[in-house]
Symmetry: C2
């Protein structure tokens, strides 16, 4: 059976909907599994395509190559989801800040944003135009996936985007962005409001293009105090979620919210409107589940460094995560953060195999 | 009145014991305040002494200069404690790993430790000999303080020392040290056991030399899973605490334990034998207090970036921290992490003044 999407391309019916079901806390036969950064440097085939493309951003901006790398991990491993190959910082790039990647230093902006005037001058943009390459990648991937597994779209959270936009890149102390927050809270709110509107437009465009679930990466929410997390990060993610398209292809589009280092805030995150919460490895899933009282699904939470272990220790670590979540619906297996570039692919394979072998008992 | 210490030097009676009382949850007239890294780069007078000394380690190893910089913040601000000027990594340096500081990259070791053989070869050492410069600094500072405020001694936690010793310096992913933990847990336990014994000897030598409270800095415990935190970090800190000298100068020597990023583990930390727990700014003190059920005192927890604000915003932020802890004994005001080098000294002064002005109401 074929469905029409956006009146443009026909897509096959979804053959593996474990991820979408688990994100909505519906029954599944086994725990679905995918990995953050599953299309990435730990795969030699990724490194080959990346070399062919040029820079990291060149790869993001070439829909055929972005599609190729998105599908690479699915060729190797029986994963239950694909995630769009892109970067969390495409929105500020579209706003004119000039995203680039310097080797060893991560993402940087040519024109960081430092004051109220720059906040006021931030342009709104049409994601179908300025981020058309992302939507083209989504459409290309959906076609290539042909219903095999669902495709996850994503963006950085407003606070996380703001940290990079103000600091101009990665930072240890968050001096500039927090300085702005402490000295000029009204300016910061105007800034984050603009970012929230843009991210909502962006994610809706991804959904219209074919994303079947979306994830908000709040990579740096965890550096805030509780009060500031609620006020400067969570509130804006809540605003985004309330603006998102809720259905596509006749199915609910689940929203996953992930604040790294945010274990202590899971109760308020569970009230954000998100269907599922990403959880890092600093909290037991049993405790996380108690904190959210089964109001949302949980995605996580193996320590990415567990993959430096042996096949045996990896299997034990997977068993511990599954046992910690326990029986019942609402668990998506994942790492607690992106897979590290030095991980041998076979170790990722051992993890995925262990989830397949060990999880069915929790769904009987 | 004069007391004799270690049969060597005479020391004046303590004139300001707010810190020691608060750490033991005894009544005080106002909340005591000190700052992690209060003797440091944000002070121009520190930078001048540092330049005179040469490298950071040269400064640590010159007792008179270490004493000078320890006292500098007390000359500027009405602080309630002095903290020994030293580094958390002196123990591995004494074990022969060759500690040095490369500008911009933080601490590094010339000879990192990478395997079971190196763990077995780790020497035990006599802190009075190999770390005699630290004990000399403690004695010199006590004499110079002349009872003005208590002196805090400290060390890195075994897990934190291990991360630097294995990685050879700072790290983002903790790949090597966690790889050892996942692949060779028995080796890691042998390693941490040796470090725990050495740290206990080291802290006891500091207490014998004159430290009136001691603090364990578990800077990197927060990168572990809950299970691994308990097994590879907290258990060894518990071992250390059980070996510490409990009294000096006829007073209890309080022990402070600080795991950065460990807010979710406060309940088990409260059972470690520590008298007080350091708390970073990612949790409300009201919630932290509930988690520890007044079994221990709490030290913290202003976001160090709050000091990038204005005098008014700093005062408000201090007020919020004090109000969050609320009435009653057992609060030591501090930042949630070390003061950043770029902070204007007058902003630190505004914080300290605000604690003095606003805290008495919580102690009536």
């Amino acid at each position: 059976m074929f469905l029409f999407l956006s009146g443009e391309i026909s897509v096959s019916e979804l053959q593996n909907d474990r991820l979408l079901r688990a994100l909505l806390r519906q029954p599944v036969d086994r725990t679905p599994v995918w990995m953050m950064r599953q299309a990435g440097r730990y795969l030699p085939e990724y490194r080959a395509t990346r070399e062919q493309a040029g820079s990291f951003m060149d790869l993001c901006k070439a829909p055929d190559l972005a599609c190729e790398v998105t599908l690479q991990p699915l060729e190797r491993f029986p994963l239950d989801a694909a995630i769009l190959f892109s970067d969390i910082l495409t929105v500020p790039d579209a706003m004119g800040l000039g995203l680039y990647f310097s080797s060893g230093e991560g993402p940087r902006f040519e024109r960081p944003l430092r004051d109220a005037k720059a906040v006021r001058a931030l342009p709104l943009f049409d994601p179908e135009i300025e981020l058309g390459y992302v939507m083209d990648a989504v459409r290309t991937i959906r076609k290539a996936l042909n219903g095999r597994v669902p495709l996850i779209g994503f963006s950085g959270s407003p606070w996380t985007l703001a940290t990079y936009m103000v600091e101009g890149g990665s930072t240890k102390n968050f001096a500039l962005v927090k300085g702005m927050m402490y000295r000029e809270p009204a300016v910061m709110h105007e800034f984050l409001g603009k970012l929230a509107d843009s991210v909502a437009l962006y994610l809706n465009a991804q959904i219209a293009a074919g994303a079947q679930a979306v994830m908000l990466f709040d990579t740096w929410g965890g550096v805030l105090s509780t009060q500031h997390y609620n006020e400067f990060s969570l509130d804006y993610m809540r605003q985004i979620i309330s603006q998102l398209t809720t259905e596509a292809d006749g199915r609910k589009v689940p929203v996953i919210l992930f604040t790294k280092g945010g274990a202590q805030w899971l109760p308020q995150m569970a009230d954000s409107g998100a269907d599922a919460l990403g959880v890092d490895w600093t909290i037991e899933l049993s405790q996380a589940r108690e904190l959210v009282q089964d109001r949302v699904a949980l995605q996580g939470n193996l320590d990415p460094c567990a993959l430096y272990g042996t096949p045996e220790s990896i299997r034990e670590a997977v068993a511990a995560v599954l046992a910690s979540y326990g029986k019942g619906n609402g668990h998506v297996f994942n790492l607690g953060h992106g897979i590290h570039p030095e991980i041998p692919p076979e170790n990722a394979g051992a993890m995925i195999q262990a989830v397949q072998d060990l999880s069915p008992q929790y769904h009987r």
